[in-house]
Amino acid sequence: MGTTAPVDLKDICIRFGSIRVLENLNLTIAPGEFLVLLGPSGCGKSTLLNAIAGLLEVAEGEIHIGGRNVTWDEPKDRGIAMVFQSYALYPRMSVRKNMSFGLEVAGTPKAEIETRVQAAAQMLKLTPLLDRRPAELSGGQRQRVAIGRALVRQAGVYLFDEPLSNLDAQLRAELRVEIKRLHARLGATMIYVTHDQIEALTLADRIAVMQGGVIQQLDTPMKIYREPVNRFVASFVGSPAMNFLPGRIESDGAFQFTHEGQCPLTGYRWRTPGFAGAATLGIRPEHILAGAEAGPSALTAKVEMVEPMGSDSLVWCRLPNGAPLALRQGAETSLIPGDPLPVAFPGDALSLFDDSTGVRL
């Protein structure tokens, strides 16, 4: 199959008329890397992906794929393949034809086409469906065909634009695993756009979290989950979302909650040591110590609602100062609304953000 290729974006600017969507964006993707572009709707993920594919003109900057400057090449000459959210299958062609169309257009020999289609179909368990039309397939099958169409191109770089977001949860989980396996098997570079953070966390070697056309953080999933560089990243990644508790950092290095309560910050890895002033404490629901674990310095929250999620439960409580707090407990939790619950925030699992800039402290 195709050889893997690095992708290098240099000072990319993209404009629609007078709207600047991307401004001086730089991004280097190693060969064989699985990079996820994660961000809210309208932040420019698709725009960036389309620019890499050559479907959109860049106003400024250069795009290098496999070491070659492809800034002015046609999409088909860039050694890329692409999978779209809406599948974009050719409705009047059979599955087989959908996959082989590009190769036919390129004049690939018949036998070669057949081999590649068969290989891709087998890999994606599409062999029995080859003669159906897209309309006769389920959503998951359609998306598999779209992936198959990309596969037969044997590109060095695969681009995915929210390929799973039209599918239901179970199918999404299933195909996610398949894509991950595919990546392991092909070893090709993959750039994957999503706004689902579970997808991003499970699939990525590195995640680029974008907002407003700017990459906020580019790092491994674990790093992004554990140490978000700013409040936006912290709030965007993770579900249920990170709890944010307003307050201020005293000069003695403890966190004073608004109205009431305090929390020591021992164990916190400071980036800007010695900061004091208005700040927000962020903590993920599963990192909160509750009940007996909470220890002596605990605050006492009041349970408001318990959401059983099968494998575990989400407990919604309210702190004495009125701030809401979600925490994850085991599935068998015996908490019921109204219960008092001591909670503590371990310093090594916290995130602290400067209120004025939103940046991690």
Binding site: E74, S86, Y90
Partner: protein, 295 residues
């Protein structure tokens, strides 16, 4: 609710007055719509003597298809007494290539306009829409000059071009709307696959546009088949369409009017579009639903 019956299962259906009203409305309107067709058919099957007596809706006392036979094969227009059958084949000869070419050009234009949204294209489109409102008779004389200047004169080719020109606004509108409503990802996917402009058009877009093509065919078939003045002026003497013969039979200023033959000739001329409509009415609605509404 009376205590006697416990509601259980299907509610006993009573045909409501509203339902009656709907059927009554539909039936009465259907009669109104069918009346002219009925009168034409009945009249065409009566001998002239009965027509002069004049109950237009009465069934014929004497049924005769003489008028139809005459209209088809022996009614005279000028020196030629071959009925309108000659024109029928001329009309077919004009119809088929004209429908094909006009849809081809219209769809290609619509496709280009939806694919490629440059600044000038909007003006082009607006101009076409304006033209759709202008009585095309105004273009007759200048067009005659243009074609003679181009050395095309009057011929099958000329009439095909003329029909294409006058079909262009509607066809473009239909196809542009249809293609614009398609997901842009389809274009993108095809471009990544390396398909060029015309390959995308021919192998992906047109096969998808079948519902719209049906609408376009229906509109063009009726439009071109029913055309009289363009055929008269541009088709050339060998290719005069059926409507010219029909006009000759129906609109002769002197001589006795054989209403039954007139009606039969009219029916014969209208037959093809009628068949097209009755056969494809379902597709027509579907095709319109597929794109035309999104004006």
């Amino acid at each position: 609710m009376t205590a006697a019956v416990t509601p259980r299962g299907r509610k006993p259906t009573r045909i409501t007055p509203a339902r009656w009203g709907i059927y009554a409305f539909l039936l009465i309107t259907a009669l109104f719509f069918l009346l002219p067709l009925y009168v034409m058919i009945v009249t065409s099957l009566k001998p002239m003597a009965e027509i002069r007596l004049g109950n237009i809706v009465a069934l014929p006392d004497v049924w005769t298809v003489e008028a139809w036979a005459k209209a088809w094969s022996s009614a005279c227009t000028g020196l030629n007494c071959n009925g309108i059958s000659v024109g029928f084949f001329n009309s077919v000869k004009i119809l088929i290539p004209s429908v094909f070419v006009s849809i081809l050009v219209g769809s290609l234009t619509g496709y280009a306009l939806s694919f490629w949204r440059a600044r000038g294209t909007n003006i082009l489109f607006t101009a076409m829409m304006i033209v759709a409102f202008i009585p095309y008779q105004i273009f007759l004389y200048p067009l005659v000059r243009v074609f003679s200047f181009l050395g095309l004169g009057q011929s099958l080719l000329t009439i095909i071009i003329v029909h294409t020109i006058f079909g262009l606004p509607t066809m473009t509108l239909l196809f542009r709307n249809y293609f614009s409503a398609l997901p842009p990802e389809l274009y993108k996917a095809a471009r990544v696959d390396g398909a060029g402009f015309y390959q995308i058009y021919g192998r992906i877009m047109m096969p998808m546009a079948v519902p719209m093509i049906v609408v376009a065919v229906i509109l063009q078939v009726t439009g071109i088949w029913n055309d009289f003045i363009l055929g008269l002026v541009f088709a050339g003497r060998e290719n005069l369409p059926m409507t010219v013969q029909l006009n000759n039979i129906v609109n002769s200023t002197q001589g006795e009017r054989a209403y039954n033959v007139d009606m039969a000739a009219t029916m014969l001329t209208a037959l093809l579009p009628l068949v097209v409509y009755f056969a494809s009415g379902r597709w027509f609605v579907r095709g319109i639903a597929a794109g035309a509404v999104k004006g």
